[in-house]
């Protein structure tokens, strides 16, 4: 009878580290018709707030999770009855909270397993996977016995060894079926000198979301002395289950932490526990940049609708400088140092409500000139504020810039966005009395626009001298900005 099977809508995987999401709003109600790719509901995860499009056309037959509820990735949220289908009663004891149906969900978990290298994004939330409107057929609804689970399944012995040695199974490359980490894999990993972290019991409890090394970060935007903050959520469930609310003292009030806040909190703590944070600062005379910007501003805005911000200049110079300092664009992975021939540049963006921030990533920034950089930053920041980011937008960063200077702060010590090696802080451009040399080589005091830059780096990988040279070169580039090169 089931020629047109019902289509399940599941909580999408919004990034490799995201294990759950909260339904913020249903845009359709039961009985409403809906077209494929039409927005069905809004969800909030610790990475991204987004709309979930309908995987097929038909009628919203059943809504299974109410607004405000937080559920794991893969949980069935709703059922769409295809057009023309009988108002089928719900598929018996339907698929368990496996990805089951949506190929998106299934695929989401697929790649990552080994190194967490590949971000393994679920098919993006907005441009949903185009599942055939008339559902393919029953198989979709049938949970595949050993399908999706294999990939991330952590066997008892692997879990035990991981916890004994404090190894994050997600960092071990697997040679078992479907990339599963076998006992031999993890033993070899441990023997190779592993990356040892504190044993984290939760990790084995969350097979679906091995905390990815590549967690998309999110440094701090404006207000405070800047903190990065990503939100890998391996540990998210815990706080949620936390305790009955304590009684409030007079004058106090409570509000629940959002998923994003929890993610930020977890990542900040984890970053400080992981990296040896050291900050170095340098003062940069921005005269040249100020002059060039003044010149370009009109042209850029008229021709391209883009504002050449100081941040774009700094970002451009940073990318150029990173070329000479691969470790600062690198990562410690196990006992290996990872370097790259590309720069995925993260920018901390404060969300409009002031209650969180996110770090969208401009991919392959090494290929962008000043215009491209300015455009990339402005686009991604706008999307972040409008909650239109795709999971892919917040993943894979290799270096981050946070810009708390908008409020006039002149110094800060941001927190590194794991697993990156460093974060650059940019601060207010302030006119200051500055000692320069006149034509005859004598000292004179001039008024110059000065900007402080900080580099907060992981001293496990980056030494102070290296950081100092990096900052020196970066300053040099900004002070002698050569238009033709950028």
């Amino acid at each position: 009878m089931a020629t047109t099977a019902a289509i399940d809508v599941v909580m999408p995987q919004m990034g490799v580290s995201v294990s759950e999401g909260t339904i913020t709003k249903w845009l359709k109600q039961e009985g409403d018709p809906i077209a494929a790719d039409e927005a069905l509901l809004e969800i909030s995860t610790d990475k991204v707030d987004t709309e979930v499009p309908s995987p097929g056309s038909g009628v919203v037959q059943q809504i299974l999770v109410q607004e405000g509820e937080t559920v794991e990735v893969g949980t069935k949220l709703a059922v769409i009855a295809p057009e023309g289908a009988a108002p089928a009663q719900e598929e018996a004891p339907a698929a368990p909270p496996e990805p089951a149906t949506q190929e998106a969900a299934a695929e989401a978990e697929a790649p990552s397993s080994s190194e967490g290298e590949t971000p393994a994004p679920a098919e993006a939330p907005t441009p949903a996977p185009p599942p055939e409107p008339v559902a393919p057929a029953a198989p979709d609804a049938v949970p595949d016995g050993d399908g999706g689970g294999d990939r991330t399944f952590v066997s008892p012995v692997v879990a035990r060894i991981a916890s004994e040695h404090g190894v994050d199974v997600g960092q071990v490359s697997g040679t078992g079926r479907g990339g599963r980490v076998t006992k031999k894999d993890i033993l070899a990993f441990v023997e190779s000198g592993a990356p040892q972290q504190q044993p984290q019991p939760e990790q084995q409890a969350a097979p679906a979301a091995p905390p990815p090394p590549q967690a998309p970060p999110e440094p701090a935007p404006a207000p405070a002395p800047a903190q990065p903050e990503p939100a890998p959520a391996a540990a998210a469930p815990a706080p949620q289950a936390a305790a009955p609310q304590p009684e409030s003292e007079p004058g106090e009030s409570y509000e629940p932490m959002s998923a994003m806040r929890r993610g930020i909190a977890e990542h900040m703590r984890r970053s400080l526990d992981t990296s040896a944070h050291v900050t170095s600062a340098i003062e940069v005379d921005m005269s040249r940049v100020v002059a060039i910007r003044a010149k370009l501003k009109k042209e850029y805005q008229q021709s391209y609708g883009v504002n050449p911000t100081y941040l774009a200049f700094v970002a451009r110079a940073t990318v150029e400088t990173l070329r000479d300092y691969p470790w600062i664009n690198g990562e410690l992975r196990g006992d290996q140092i990872v370097t790259r021939n590309y720069v995925n540049l993260g920018f901390a963006v404060e969300l409009t409500d002031g209650k969180g921030l996110i770090v969208p990533v401009v991919k392959h920034a090494e290929g962008l000139n000043l215009l491209g950089m300015a455009r990339g930053i402005s686009e991604i920041a706008a999307r972040a504020r409008d909650k239109k980011l795709l999971p892919d937008d917040v993943q894979g960063g290799t270096f981050t810039i946070t810009n708390p200077g908008g409020y006039g702060t002149f110094h800060g010590t941001p927190v590194i966005s794991q697993p990156q090696a460093a974060i650059l802080g940019t601060y207010a451009v302030v006119k200051r009395p500055w000692v320069i040399q006149d034509d005859r080589g004598g000292d004179v005091i001039a008024i110059r626009p000065i900007m402080n830059l900080t580099l907060t780096y992981d001293h496990r990988l980056v030494d102070g001298a290296l950081a100092g040279r990096f900052l020196r070169d970066l300053r040099e580039r900004l002070e002698t900005w050569d238009e033709t090169n950028y």
Binding site: S155, P156, V157, V158, R160, G176, R177, T182
Partner: protein, 324 residues
Amino acid sequence: MSEMTYLQAISDGLRQEMRRDKRVFVIGEDVGVYGGAFKVTLGFQEEFGPWRVIDAPLSETAIVGGCTGAAIMGMRPVAEMQFADFISCAWDHLVTVAAKQRWRAGTPVPITVRLPSGGGFSGGPFHSQNPESSFAHIPGLKVICPATPEDAKGLLATAIQDPNPCLYFEHKHLYRRLKADVPEERYETPFGKARIHREGDDISVITWGAMVHTADEAAQQLEGDGISVEILDLRTLIPWDKQAVLQSVSKTSKALVLHEDTQTGGFGGEIAATIAEEAFEELDAPIKRIAAPDTPVPFSPALEKAFIPQVDGVAKGIKELAEY
């Protein structure tokens, strides 16, 4: 040492036991004049006389019942079921009387029942079964399943001297197929001590009886694939060497339980459950069972081959587990 077949080793062990212990006697269908359906007791009546090598009527009930009585009176009877399949007729005496007598009255019942079992020669549903698990479930009985000539002799001696009813499953298909050096002198092979038939690192195959050799051939096949298989021959199911199994599984983290008996309710389930209970944190893969399907043993050679686990099937199972 001298080279003996599995069958000769049983015969040799039995003869030695009868020579040294006057309480030991043999009873069964055609065991005397004819020398037994498989000739295990050929020449016994000539040597020990008709009172110690007794041709019984075609009644397993009478044979086991008589043995039980004689054992209670201090004898050490060795009964032969012509085929293990026939033991169902003696179920009541074994299970209700022999197994419980010591518990009930403190009287030991030192009987040994020899059970030619197993298939592989188109014996069909009544002459090919491996009913060991039925008896392993009965407290008070011991279950012995030798896989080699040396063990066949040593375990038989131990069984005859054991104060409890012992079911000695001798695999018919090994009778003349296996030939190996066996000590000439008398010796006892202890119960409950598994034998590492083959050492390996990747997978533990836990088995007994004829399947030890099936597993061994499969393991040889897989050598080329770089899969190192450890084969544990349990030797006795009651008592069974849990420690050895857990130790091996702790080493390899992957367990395949293999037996010729049908799967459901087979003793492999007990082993798998024990591993899951006591070595869960050592496992790197689901415990796998390979056993005969849940049907009577077919006559047709082709069907029987499909029924009894074969080398290729076992090799495939091992490989799957290795690749998990």
